[in-house]
């Protein structure tokens, strides 16, 4: 045993620390697979993109498609809705983003239909789109505008814009 008068660490001290360190690394190495197995598996990752035909979405209405298990809203915006989305001063927005940053073609808004508060699906049926003509979340009352940006309520962020691209004028690839 090292006595308090020895300043020099002994061989025993070294072995003790080395063994402990090796043990900790070993425990960590075994724990990792146990934790990592809970992350999305290969089949979930493989479903990551879909193709959608948008030719049948009439002006002014919203199509809901399922992507990665969640709803995605594809909204065919009217000129009035586009005008509403582009004319708001950024200072009025809790999560400031211009409409331009959120769309590729002004008449098509593509957003993940998950409220950024606690994950409910906001309602977008005509007549119950909330005070900003976008979406209304029934769970705790968040209101989104025609660009899917949060305007009022507990949600902190705008509706997420997924990665997407137009394969043609009527075909959309999400993911």
């Amino acid at each position: 045993m090292a006595t308090s008068s020895t300043v020099e660490p002994t061989r025993r001290d070294f072995l003790f620390i080395a063994t402990g360190a090796a043990g900790a690394v070993g425990v960590g190495a075994v724990a990792w697979p146990l934790i990592s197995q809970m992350n999305p598996d290969a089949s979930t990752l493989a479903m990551a993109s879909i193709e959608v035909d948008i030719s049948a979405v009439p002006l002014g209405s919203i199509m809901t498609v399922k992507w990665r298990g969640k709803p995605v809203f594809v909204r065919h915006r009217t000129p009035k809705e586009i005008q509403e989305a582009t004319s708001v001063p950024l200072a009025e927005l809790p999560d400031p983003e211009t409409d331009k940053q959120r769309v590729q073609k002004p008449e098509w808004l593509v957003v993940v239909g998950i409220c950024t508060h606690l994950g409910c699906v906001p309602i977008g049926q005509a007549g119950s789109r909330g005070d900003y003509d976008g979406w209304f979340c029934p769970c705790h009352g968040s209101q989104y505008d025609t660009s899917g940006r949060i305007r009022r309520g507990p949600a902190p962020k705008n509706l997420e814009v997924p990665t997407y691209s137009f394969l043609s004028d009527t075909k959309l690839k999400i993911g």
Partner: protein, 417 residues
């Protein structure tokens, strides 16, 4: 308190076994000869009732598992088949779903009992904290179980609750994806929730053992909050006194439980949960199970996402600090005239929050929820610490026997031993 057992088995085989594994002595010392304060009232019978409910949930749960399928395409149908096809399936499921509610009824009474009589004060802090841990595990188990039938409330309840974790800065989204095993609540989520729903009750059982162990080290508190000083004068043996009283209370409790199971089995549930989960449409009004409503109200009272989640978890975590927040030297609320008033106001506050949690989060409801949330935290952080300084308690009797004799006008007989 319980001390080394003086138990001696009567048979030779019993003595042979006892000298190798003294389990009979442990049981004798814990549940037969164990001295219980002679002034215990019926609020002390809920510990026994809780033990019964845990066993009831485990037994009904294991048999339900024999018929249940944890898969997003099959779970809802398997629960419907439990209701319609499985022999006595409706009974087992109703016993289990209402059993969860009754379990919470009992735990809330048990906890409020502890608060009123100061059961968390020294030397019972660890006992109290173990209780808070059991309560947390119960909340987790109930939540996990409620997802299993895979109805609309199951799905959206699971979605909202798991989304709490997205409020954590930076790593929130990664943690939530990890919990889900995907990008939303789905089949991997249901599978792991089932595995954990099976596991947690056994962990509860483990913590219950520690809870009872801690109890038997420090001894029971009692309505007068005075420690047992003279076992012969202040205490009676667990069996028959506590055993019979606990059994009687349990039977009364079971009548209420049976009334729910047989008369109004869906009263505490929600009709939307008989609609299969639909990830593309949220029900117009989602509410959690009744036993979470006060916390849900606190969550929604705070206008910021992270703040709401912190307040909600904080409202439960603060219970663990109760032993140090209450500064009064007098244990039982019976001798604390001002505490009594604030205590009953606290009960009303919790009931009020429960009511508000079931209402839509708008207008006057939100304002009321904010007021009650303020009182909820104020009770722990301001009222309890200050009361210990400003309140003048009533004189506390010198012993349990004195308290009992004073109440019975000095005419009580000595308890049988």
């Amino acid at each position: 308190m319980s001390g080394p057992s003086t138990y001696v088995p009567k048979s030779a085989l019993g003595r042979w076994f006892e000298s190798r594994l003294p389990i009979a002595g442990l049981i004798h010392g814990s549940f037969i000869a164990y001295p219980t304060p002679r002034n215990l009232n019926y609020w002390w019978t809920f510990g026994g009732i809780l033990s019964f409910m845990l066993v009831a949930q485990i037994v009904t749960g294991i048999v339900l598992t024999m018929h249940y399928t944890p898969h997003v395409d099959l779970a809802f149908a398997s629960v419907e088949s439990i209701m319609r096809d499985v022999n006595w399936g409706w009974f087992l499921r109703y016993a289990h779903s209402n059993g969860a509610s009754m379990f919470f009824v009992a735990v809330y009474i048990h906890m409020f009992r502890g608060v009123y009589y100061g059961s968390y004060k020294a030397p019972r802090e660890v006992l109290w904290i173990l209780g808070v841990i059991i309560y947390l595990l119960m909340m987790a188990t109930g939540f996990l179980g409620y997802t299993l039938p895979w109805g609309q409330m199951s799905f959206w309840g699971a979605t909202v609750i798991t989304n709490f974790f997205t409020a954590i800065p930076l790593v929130g989204d990664a943690i939530t994806t990890w919990l889900w095993g995907g990008y939303s609540v789905g089949n991997p989520t249901l599978n792991r929730f089932f595995a954990l729903h099976y596991l947690l009750p056994f962990m509860i059982a483990g913590v219950v053992v520690l809870h009872v162990w801690a109890l038997h080290v420090v001894g029971q508190n009692n309505p007068d909050g005075i420690e047992i000083k003279n076992v012969n004068r202040d205490a009676v043996a667990f069996t028959p006194y506590a055993t019979i009283k606990d059994s009687f209370a349990l039977v009364c409790f079971l009548i209420l439980y049976a009334w729910f199971v047989f008369q109004v089995p869906n009263y505490l549930g929600h009709a939307d949960n008989y609609i299969e989960a639909n990830p593309l449409s949220t029900p117009a009004h989602i509410v959690p199970e009744w036993y979470y409503l006060p916390f849900y109200a606190i969550l929604r009272a705070i206008p910021s996402k992270l703040g709401g989640v912190i307040a909600m978890f904080g409202s439960i975590a603060i219970l663990a600090f109760l032993p140090w927040l209450d500064t009064s030297r007098v244990r039982s609320g019976k001798y604390r005239p001002m505490f009594k008033i604030f205590f009953w106001a606290f009960i009303l506050c919790c009931l009020g929050l429960g009511y508000l949690g079931s209402m839509p989060a708008e207008g006057g409801y939100v304002i009321a929820a904010r007021l009650l949330t303020t009182y909820y935290f104020g009770f722990f952080i301001i009222i309890l610490p200050l009361l210990g300084i400003f309140e003048t308690p009533k004189p506390v009797p010198a012993s349990i026997a004195d308290a009992v004799l004073a109440r019975n006008g000095g005419a009580a007989a000595q308890p049988a031993e």
